[in-house]
Symmetry: C2
Subunit: 598 residues, 2 copies
Amino acid sequence: MADYKAPQKDMNFALSHNARMAELAQLPGFEEATDDMVAAILEEAGKVANEVLSPLNEVGDHTGVKLEGVDVPTPAGFADAYQQFAEGGWGSLQFDPEFGGQGLPYALSIPVMEMWQSANMAWGLCPLLSQGAVEAIFHNGSDELKAKYLPQLVSGEWTGTMNLTEPQAGSDLAAIRSTAKPVGDHYRIKGQKIFITWGEHDMAENIIHLVLARLPDAPPGVKGISLFVVPKFLVNDDGSLGERNDAKCVSLEHKLGIHASPTCVMAFGDDEGAIGYLVGEENRGLACMFTMMNNARLAVGLQGVAISERAYQHALEYAHDRVQSPPVGSREAAPIIQHADVRRMLLTMKTMTEAGRALAYDACASLDFAHHSEDPAIRAKESARAAYLTPIVKGWCTEFAQEVTSLGVQVHGGMGFIEETGAAQHYRDARILPIYEGTNAIQALDLVGRKTLFDGGEAGAAVQAEIAELIEQLQAQGSFAAEATQLQAALELAKTAQAELLNGAKDDVQLAGSVAFNYLMLMGTLCGGWQLLRAALAATAELSEGGDETFLSAKVNSARFYSAQILPRSASYAQMVAAGSESVMTMSDDELASAWYS
Amino acid sequence: MADYKAPQKDMNFALSHNARMAELAQLPGFEEATDDMVAAILEEAGKVANEVLSPLNEVGDHTGVKLEGVDVPTPAGFADAYQQFAEGGWGSLQFDPEFGGQGLPYALSIPVMEMWQSANMAWGLCPLLSQGAVEAIFHNGSDELKAKYLPQLVSGEWTGTMNLTEPQAGSDLAAIRSTAKPVGDHYRIKGQKIFITWGEHDMAENIIHLVLARLPDAPPGVKGISLFVVPKFLVNDDGSLGERNDAKCVSLEHKLGIHASPTCVMAFGDDEGAIGYLVGEENRGLACMFTMMNNARLAVGLQGVAISERAYQHALEYAHDRVQSPPVGSREAAPIIQHADVRRMLLTMKTMTEAGRALAYDACASLDFAHHSEDPAIRAKESARAAYLTPIVKGWCTEFAQEVTSLGVQVHGGMGFIEETGAAQHYRDARILPIYEGTNAIQALDLVGRKTLFDGGEAGAAVQAEIAELIEQLQAQGSFAAEATQLQAALELAKTAQAELLNGAKDDVQLAGSVAFNYLMLMGTLCGGWQLLRAALAATAELSEGGDETFLSAKVNSARFYSAQILPRSASYAQMVAAGSESVMTMSDDELASAWYS
């Protein structure tokens, strides 16, 4: 199986030219995030990803995890790798120095996170979820809770989990039934949670579960859900570990992919009730959880980029090595990379991955501006921008990850279907991404509902204005006339689609749900072109100053390929949105099942 | 896991209205293929598929196959099911009565074959390949060879395999190195073949391998390949089985899907050389193999339809059962089938499946006309039509099978990623389809090269003329104005794309390879709409005569959905074709790998 090689050149470039790193470094507290510092961090992280985590990816897939009593031993090497990760301070880059963090921009932590996910997605889910737990406690917890749990979570000494789903409550959190009974300064939690990623393992000495549950007098629905910290081992006042809590893993799922990541059924309170501590206010648990969910959604979008990158590297290596059939104009068999259709596949993989990377980094940078700018107007603007781009990053990047990992299999031909080749693992691992952290239907409804209809299209119009500005720059620059025309066409389609949605949703209650997915794909496709053409403009400027010619030409050619071969997808998405709800809603339930039997 | 229910209504309808069954029944020899007879056959086949094969699908996936010595025991129940299949005469429907066949139309055998593939694709590959072996021997073998091997292959007593691929010769058959040395009336074969489906098993008493190899004096390349029959057990003159031949399975692949189907590495001639018998002329093996490959390509396209149907049934059942979130306009959680985005997914699955079914059946019917019509002009026309549609059926149906089985996972949400649910198996099984029997790149090149450039677009124009005629009928009928407009738009795009290809390929040697895949997808999308709207017209006529209202309305609404939500994809495929080869061929190999390291 091909080793992972962290794409540091592209990461540095995307940080500089898509995520506005130089501007970020001027925000108070971020002075250290110079280009050199950023490059050095990526360099070091790349070593850990390439040399420590990547070699464990295949063995993790083969070995998987098993429940032994209430314990879940991880595959050989996983715990050691986690120790190296924690000792290297890799989990603490973006967190507040007050709790042991390094105070660096969130946007800088993102390529580092991407590396873990490319190198070993099953393993990488553990720090990804811990990060979410830190955010939930940091933004919502009491000072006492923060002091007690954050330092060890930030340092990586402990890991964290998110416990939302119950058998009857997947996408529908209103249906949560787990209960929390107040007892003095704490609560007793009872209930079963499913699909709890890294809910039990042997990589860290404690696990801090964040659990949604209902108080006895809670109102029904989402307004009656509270958030609790439920540690695996109770924590004494001096920080030492106390008794084992009444919270345990009772079974593991047998999954299509990410085999090394334990997906647990967690039983809270089989005996006297698990001891938990309230995070934030009573009945405000969903809002607290959303502070971790939004970042987690960006991180899952980034996983889409990460697994696509891995699949691309894998396929590219094979395309260089595999000799088969004479290419056009030759009589000798040659490496298949010389065949036009293989190039089409590789370029589709490469350019969508780089487009998604640039978009994800840019969205994350908006969060840094939103949290750290001293100008309230900028904070508001960037906050809305990040909120708008989040469902696009999660939805679009995880959708194209399906296509890219499938192309990765296809480039390998028959070998792609053989598990030992490794391409199939990426394909299997990637399949969870459109599902967890809010299915892509949820993302699409978020984009259409809260992020477009709710604000009358304001956030969307702001992004569209940025794209229009880029088109002017492209036209002024002169060498991207065809690409500017393609991007302009896609932009017009997006504007029309947004107008159709704003005009039509009032009178047609089914419109939003019927068109949401294709609307999201339209916006993702457009935003991908926007980001790659931003990069191409910057690369052209650097080329004229004598930069790294191969890399910079590739950035230009990636944008040209994407404009010619991927942006045209906008046309079909736009037509599907324009077709509205009628064809989606007309067929009856009986008709859907009418083809069987004579 | 959801049971399979053979969609006999849709199959009967597609045979009648897309595959012109009534006309077929007027061909000499096909008089028995009346509507009632067809329905009765599908009814009986449906029982075997639903009750015998479908229940073995999951256990086959879990158990898989293992090599024990040189034997490959199949999962419990597989051999019994095969006995029932053979005893029921299910493998002999379309074959010549001279060799024990039932002399029915090939088009009628196709829905039956579809059922096996839906019910249990891993198992179904065994009869699928046996059928190919029958065709290769029937069309190319000597009378003696036919008499010795066909009756038992037709009856299903023995099974057959295709042995093309070698490690260095996948898509590139010119690179085949296996050798055949003439010794008296037979040959001694030596060489290793890989990816041999059902190359060894315990379901039948003999296995007839069809093997490509080179004679000592053979010219290089594809013009030096000959085809041989190599039985597992030699066959005595009285038909009894003799000695074990020097041909054996030496290992099995560990695959992403179709776990119950043994994918063998076959060693021919480890000792004195495997005894083989020439099929057809020396050095004409590739032509002989193509008589079986073309039908096998249609059959693999049909597997795309079949696995899509299974995934759809699975998802539809879950969507009825799973209660989650209040739909628009309600405050109570309801089955997710009521959510617009779930309907969008289900309708995408259903309509692409039915479009592919109608197209595949229609293409197969053309083969019947090509072989059995008494009019040479019709034979020529239908033969060209079948040849044109074959790569579209194989390529497009296996591509949409990826999308449909992925949507099948997605409809299940988190449960879709859990293996026990069964949706993931369809997704894994389906992934082989764009690869084997000629990758979809090969199909696309076949469509663009031999089937379009080679005949100056004649076969394509003939199909386009049929579509234009349908558009006139739709306009005349009156209730499909919007759909006629959509189909017309897609037709114009296809015509333009064909003209671009014919005009451009002379001066741009990379054009064909660069655009082939998207060209195939454009034609598939168009042909799917054509077939569904043919069906919708017929359904409308039957509705006015008081037919099965639910089923017939569903046919109409399927066509409407496809026109509104799937046909628009033509626009993007056409733009990608129009973009030509430049963006595909510009980026250098170095640029493709330029993103790594700083």
